[in-house]
Structure formats: C-alpha cells, structure tokens
Symmetry: C2
Subunit: 338 residues, 2 copies
Amino acid sequence: MSSEHLVSLEHKPEIIEKVGTPLTFRPDVRVLDCTIRDGGLVTNFNFDDEMVRALYLALSEAGVDYMELGYKASKKIFSPEKFGKWKFSTEEDIRRVLDDMPEGPMISVMADAERTDYHTDILRKSESVVDLVRIATYIHQLPTALDMIQDAKDKGYEVAINLMAASTVNERELEEAVGIFADSDVDVIYLVDSFGSFYSEITRSYVNKYMSQARKGGKKLGIHAHNNQQLAFSNTIEALIMGTSYLDTTVYGLGRGAGNCNTELMLGFLKNPKYHVRPLLKVIDEYIAPLKKTEHWGFDIPYMLTGQFNVHPQPAIKYINKPEGTYTDFYDGLMEED
Amino acid sequence: MSSEHLVSLEHKPEIIEKVGTPLTFRPDVRVLDCTIRDGGLVTNFNFDDEMVRALYLALSEAGVDYMELGYKASKKIFSPEKFGKWKFSTEEDIRRVLDDMPEGPMISVMADAERTDYHTDILRKSESVVDLVRIATYIHQLPTALDMIQDAKDKGYEVAINLMAASTVNERELEEAVGIFADSDVDVIYLVDSFGSFYSEITRSYVNKYMSQARKGGKKLGIHAHNNQQLAFSNTIEALIMGTSYLDTTVYGLGRGAGNCNTELMLGFLKNPKYHVRPLLKVIDEYIAPLKKTEHWGFDIPYMLTGQFNVHPQPAIKYINKPEGTYTDFYDGLMEED
C-alpha cells in the first residue's frame, strides 16, 4: 500500500449514543474502588489493617459505592508466606477490618479463573460480608469463568466478569465471548484495558460492541482502565457517557504498572452530589502518598511504550523497579522482542 | 431545583464530525513542540545552549514540525537579570543555537500581548530565522492582539493567535472574539485550556464553536492543553479528530504546573510515518528526566484541584514548590478563596 492511501481528509461523522448530559447524574453509576486489589499488585498485597480501615472510612465519606478488598487466590497455588493477606482475602481478614465500621461501600473481591478454589473459598452469601464477586478471566478460560459465575450466583452474590486483555483478542471471538456472558447469570460485564493501549475512539468502539450484546441479556457494563498512555480517566469518561455503569478507580491511581483511573479524578467529574473528593485527600495524605517512598506506580515512559506496543506491562514493571540502562535501551529491548 | 431534576437517563446522540480515521494520517497536522517556551515557565527560561541544540536535533529526527524557542518578552518590562534568555529569545540567541544545525523543525516564538515590544523586537521575516509568531492574548487585550497579528503578517510571518483561559470567558464574547480573529490576517486560531479544566465533551463543544468561525475565514485550528486532570493528551486527540491541525506538545510533558500533552505520547498516536518516538527518548534520558531532580512539573493533586475548580494553577505551583500543610489543607485553602 502506498503512503498515499494512508492520507485522509475524509469527513466522517461518529455518532456517540450518550446517556445523560455533562450537568446531570445517572442513578445507574457505581464507582468501584479497587485500590487494595489492584494496588495489592504493587505492594505484594501487604496493607495493614489500619490503612484498610482508613480507606474504608474515606470511601464511605466520599460516597464511593464499592470497595474491592483483594483476590480470593488459592493457597494451594500461591504461598501465604510469599504474599500479603489481601491476595487471599479470607472472610476472617475482611470481617476483622470491617469490625465496628459504620455502614459504607459494598464489599467486592476478585477471583482469577484457574487460580482460585472458588467452590470452597467463596462462602455462601449468607455466611459472608462480601456483596460482589468479580471474576477475572482470559478468553481461553471461558468455560471455567462460566462455572465460577454460576457458582457465585448460586451462592447469592452479585457477580461481575472482567474479560482481561481485550486488546489482544480477535474481534469475532471477543464478540462471541461477550454474547455468551450476556446469556449467563452474570450481572455486570467489564471492558478491561489491561495493557493501557486504548484510545478514545477504540474505547467507544468496544463499548458499542459490548453494549449491543449486554443490552440483549439485560446486563450492565463496567470499565477497568490502565494509565499507560495517561488515558485511564479519559477512557473511563468515554465509556461512562456511552452508558457504562460500573467504573473502576483507585485512590491516587495506585495500581499495577502505570496504575488506574484515580478515584479523586472520577469523583471530581461525576455530578451526583453524594460524591465528595475531600475525604480521599486525607487518606492520600496519611497513607497513600507516603507509599510512594518505597513503591513504584504511575505513568512513566516504559509503561507508555508497552501501552503503545499493546503488550503486557511486565517488562516495564521490571525496569521501573530496577532500571537497567536508559529509556532508549528499554525501547530497543521492546523492539527486539516485537 | 430538586435533585430529581439532576438525574438523567436521557439518551442523546452527540455527533462528532471526524476528519480522517484511526488508521490514516492527515497532511494538515502539525506538531508544535513548545518544551522550551512552556517548560521555560518551570525553569525560569534557563536552558543551556547544549540542551536546546540536543532538543532541536531530537525533534528534527522525530519529525516534529515546529519547535517553539521562547517568549519575545519586553526587556523594559522584565529584567534580563531575573529571567533566562528564552524569556526574550533574541535573534542572536536563536541563531547561535541553530548555527550549523541540519535542517529541522520550523521555528516559533511567542509574544504576550502587552508584554512585548513587538514593533521593534520582532524583526522582518527576511532578517530572522523565525517562521511562526504566536500571539498569546487574554480576551480584554483583543485590540492589541489584532495589531500584533497585523504587524507580524506585514513583516512576513506565519501567525497564530492563542486566546488564553477560554474556560473563564463568557461564551457569547468568546464566539465574537474567535469571529474577529477569523476575519483577521491570522493563519491559526488556538483553543487554549490554560487551567486544565476541560473534559472531552467540553473540548468537542469548543472545537465545534471555533471550527464554525474558523472555516468562514479559512483559518486552521490549534489546541494547547494542560494536564491538570490527566486529560491533556486525551483532549488534544479529541480536538485533532474533529479537525484541529496544530497540536501543542512538550517533551516529557515539561511545562507550567501539571505540564502539557507529552510529545512522545502524541507521536505514538499519530499515524504519519514521518513521526518517530525513539529520538525523543534520548533527549529525555540525557536532558529532561534529569531536570526532575531540581524542577517540579507534572500531574499532582493540587493541580487536579485547581483544574476541577477551573482556577489559575498559581496556588498549586506555589504549594508544589514549597508545600505548606497537607493536600487536604490545600483543598481547604482553595475552598475559602472560592
């Protein structure tokens, strides 16, 4: 193809089917703060109870709808000696931090397909303080994910499915998978930009695709974005205005690699008067900003590059934690692997 | 108004008149790197010649279209003892750094209305290596700005007008001002988000307004964004896909307060094969990242708050350079002033 074919001044309307206006608020919107869970990937799931309790109180005062506490990882697969307690989020640990707390956000946990003993480790809802079970799956784990959805629904939970790394999945297969989830008992289907490679047009196009399937099954949509290209907040807004209801955020952007959409940015945008930014600043002041002294997360050039290349952030995380060579060297390394 | 009136599930299509597609490139697009000029507001306009030359070479290899060198500030108003040389960008200084350089980006300077001796300090184009004169103006300085446009056009330059702090201007007056510029001899009219307060819907709405006026006068549009809410890149993309041609960026986001749209993010997005990210990484490695040891810029909570409040970043810049109290204290201070 000659480069002439790539030149375009074509005018083409893109129609955004917006729900709501910039001044209204939508009663279907739920902010899900996953600071402990996605941030756990930064701190190896070590957060002491005092911090988790302070965060719970802050989210409660801020009006945040859900607080995700961690993974329900299998202790047969992952050693409790090697990970902090929020890798496993036992009922006992959750109840201890929530003990004596005033009413606040609903509680969510995440279970990775094939990395969890969900039959035994996820209790019946009647025996648990957890409200929402989120199942994270790659597309090839779909049959397991469907069984996990059924298991959690049968136990009485609200259930969400996070189909990871959507940017690497063949479009036809993705549409089929979303259709299968739309036919399942799941409540919420998440668009997940694991590699932080989406631009706004791409986000809108995915939301359109997911939405048409989700509507058929009466499901709600969610979005989980990463900030590799400084677009986590922006993509979350685009998904929101196109009708996505569940918005994943983390306080101060604390999350794997480049981190996530900041809860405090999102609450500043949302018009529902129940949301407040100030309580989050206090927990940032006291607990999350001080973490920056020892832990690394947030936008940086290596994360930008893995986002631009649409690859897993792992090499960037490795570089940021122990830089070997310059940014240019890192780029050259990625090019060699490409 | 009861809160019920604020609840909305209304479906309303927003039609984006896009120019081009995600896979094509637009021959009208110009990337204007203003690292030295907007970054000068961070370094007090002190950049040594070696760094400026390295940046010029990097931008040249990266395919960037314009390099902005600094302001043409009046030495009668600003003391040369108190500011680095890029506050004044004399022809002599510009020629010295460009001496022996291979052909590269076109050269731009900025002149602030009422802070420049443009009649004398802007030479005739035939006597200067500058290609583009950009005039920065507040709306109340419009008559001066028009005289500056005429002066620069008469001298033979390409001329752009940057109408600052658009988010604080009455909508009717803004439309009138853009209409007046569209009738002038200016070549490019810039939408400027000085306070970093725009969201994508707002950006699209402003671009629509500017575009309808600009088209009548046969003018091109430009965008200059700030990153207070991590939306500089995203807003620049939105303006671009709606037909904006001139895109302001800075390497590593170096610019006042929360900084700007990163040049390296923008070049990663643009599909024109003449743009390359790698040369920018080298100048980041060697000159710009090391600046972070002594200078402060880039997204942080106080900039987010001034963006959310739609106020000038000055209090946030002051806090970041000399923090007094917590983020919460800073928030409380802003609320008192509001």
